[in-house]
């Protein structure tokens, strides 16, 4: 245990925690926007798998990382269009249609990978970019300010999402259709349009999350996410539907994952216990859900389709 508490190992763990938190954070922030408008999207994992595959394939074929990020975003947007039509215009039961999206994404990404790539080949990863001055701060700079651009973007989107939700007319509309769609409708706010746009934002961010995941790893394999998208949905509950709370949750996950990895590398967790250690994130989520379940309240109209009477 002693070798874990050395400065260099702690700094490396913190750096890897922030990197690992990035896909969680992007996906959860997007899901927060969607849920505040009253729409639960359980398909995040499937969207992430599809965008991760297409981002990976783009780098493999073109070598262009930024095109790959853009492709990930667009895949998310397209899946958002699909999900928007299903939930907003066809009023499908959200919990189950999301599972449909998940299964579809899981199958299609697997199919395309086997058809177009076959065996996993590593690709270029997102490079780390030093922020001038800040990255020179001893230790702290190395952990926080020598990360990739998608990580910076993810953390920048925390205040942006918070401001969007609390300080703009559109954010007010999102919250009103999520809490009381009938009232919002009577005041002339289009419930359908507001929810549709919120879904597009949420899915685009899930698409970015998939791109971030695969471009940080530099490799794709079927079912790459292994449930990461579902944990991202749970983090929204954990963060009480607030971007800052969601960030706290994503960081906690990053730290738990990074610590488990580091402890395995240092031999603190024996090989035989490594599967048990892998249970930590999901067990932690269940405990967190138990703790927060009674304290916070969800948007009142969450998962309820809107019909005008």
């Amino acid at each position: 245990m002693g070798e874990f508490f050395t400065l260099s190992v702690l700094v490396a763990t913190a750096a890897s925690a922030i990197r690992l938190a990035t896909p969680y954070l992007l996906a959860s922030l997007g899901e927060t926007v969607g849920q505040r408008s009253g729409v639960l999207n359980l398909g995040v994992d499937g969207v992430m798998l599809l965008s991760a595959f297409f981002s990976y394939w783009t780098v493999l074929e073109t070598g262009n990382l930024w095109l790959a990020v853009l492709v990930g975003l667009v895949v998310g947007l397209v899946m958002g269009l699909l999900y928007g039509v299903i939930t907003v215009f066809l009023n499908a039961t959200q919990g189950i249609s999301g599972i449909g999206i998940f299964i579809f994404g899981l199958g299609l990404s697997d199919l395309l990978f086997r058809q177009l790539v076959g065996t996993p080949k590593p690709v270029r990863r997102l490079p780390n970019v030093d922020i001038p001055l800040l990255s020179d701060i001893p230790h702290l700079g190395e952990a926080l300010f020598q990360r990739n651009l998608l990580t910076y973007l993810a953390f920048l989107l925390v205040p942006v999402t918070a401001l969007l939700l609390t300080r703009t007319t559109f954010g007010l509309n999102i919250r009103s259709v999520g809490d009381n769609p009938q009232a919002a409708d009577s005041l002339g706010v289009s419930v359908e349009r507001t929810r549709f746009v919120a879904i597009l934002i949420g899915n685009s961010m899930a698409g970015l999350a998939g791109a971030a995941l695969v471009l940080q790893l530099g490799i794709f394999q079927p079912n790459l996410t292994q449930g990461l998208g579902f944990i991202a949905v749970a983090l929204v509950y954990f963060g009480a539907w607030r971007p800052i709370g969601v960030m706290g949750g994503a960081l906690l996950y990053g730290f738990v994952n990074a610590t488990v990895l580091q402890w395995k590398a240092l031999g603190i967790i024996p090989v035989s216990g490594s599967d048990l250690a892998n249970m930590a994130p999901a067990v932690l989520t269940i405990l967190a859900l138990i703790v927060v379940a009674r304290r916070v309240h969800a948007p009142s109209a969450l998962t309820k389709p809107f019909t005008r009477h």
């Binding site: 359980l42 499908a92 299964i103 579809f104 899981l106 199919l111 048990l276 892998n278 269940i286 009674r294």
Partner: protein, 368 residues
Amino acid sequence: MIKGVLGALVPLLAALAAFAFGAMMLVTLGASPLAGLDAMLDGAFGSGSRIAATAVKATPLILVGAGITIAFRTSVINIGGEGQIIAGALLSTVVALSFPNLPAFILVPLVLLSGAVGGGILGAVPGALKAYASVNEILSTIMLNLVMVQFMNFLLRGPLIDPFELEAGTRIPQTQRLSDNATLPTLLDGTRLHIGVPVAICAAVGAYLILWRTPTGFRLRAVGYSPEAARAAGISVKRNITLAMTLSGSLGGIAGAILVFGSEGQRMVTDGSAAGFTGSAGFNGIVAALFGGLHPLWTIPSAMLFGALLTGATQLQRVLQVPAALAVALNGIIVIFVISSTPVRGWLQRSLADSGLFNRSSDTAGMD
């Protein structure tokens, strides 16, 4: 009458639309849809042993699907099929390892029962958490899926690993060959058709009888229809939510036991993923149940259809080199189409009712 026709027609149209989408995907992949359909039909129903393989493939889907109807009819969304299957498989494996010398007529029912207990426990936990601690069951069941995969990997790589694997140093994560007395007897020589198939069908019929022919089922459905009204009528909402999840999980657990003791290897193996053991039956069972209109009896033919899709996809891969993952993508599309068409069906029925063509009955087959 019109209502009944509509009720069956809309999901069928949705399925047709999904298959049209599948045909488009085949064309995109450079394969002929007709050749694809031919390969799939041949793979699923081409011979007696293939039909048996399809039935065996459908068995866990029938069980999980019947469980899903109980949960969904009580308005509890159980996405934990994968974890419940694994829990049932693990407990039944431990029982078979502990009592290998019991005679078959005791051991076979015992391992099936242990499966039910294991899956039931894993269903009861999220059920009780929802009922007594307001924890969203969708999230808790998904998390328990993730937990159970790792737990399975831990047990099969560690405490339950075949001692021979340790000796030989190969360390394949699997149990030793389990007692032959626990093997599910086959019904037809030369095929894999084992008693798991009739067990699953009986379980689905049982689920139907419980839901519609017993006071327990009445209470479950009352809670599903309106928790407030049920509470006002003196029905314990909390207890029934827990019960629904327990029953639902136990059916998944039986599926887990059948996957172990109906397998050719007669042992539990992991490739590190949930799907590697379950074949995603925990999710596909939801698809089968939805497609069957959340009716346990309709779940049986519906599961057969999806079983055929799975065995057909294997043949598709063999003949046309199209990855079998196509079946998974198609399943997703079918869920999306069927679930989107349910409100459409409701809307059609309402407009027909408004036009006075027939009287709406109080029996609503909808799922929301």
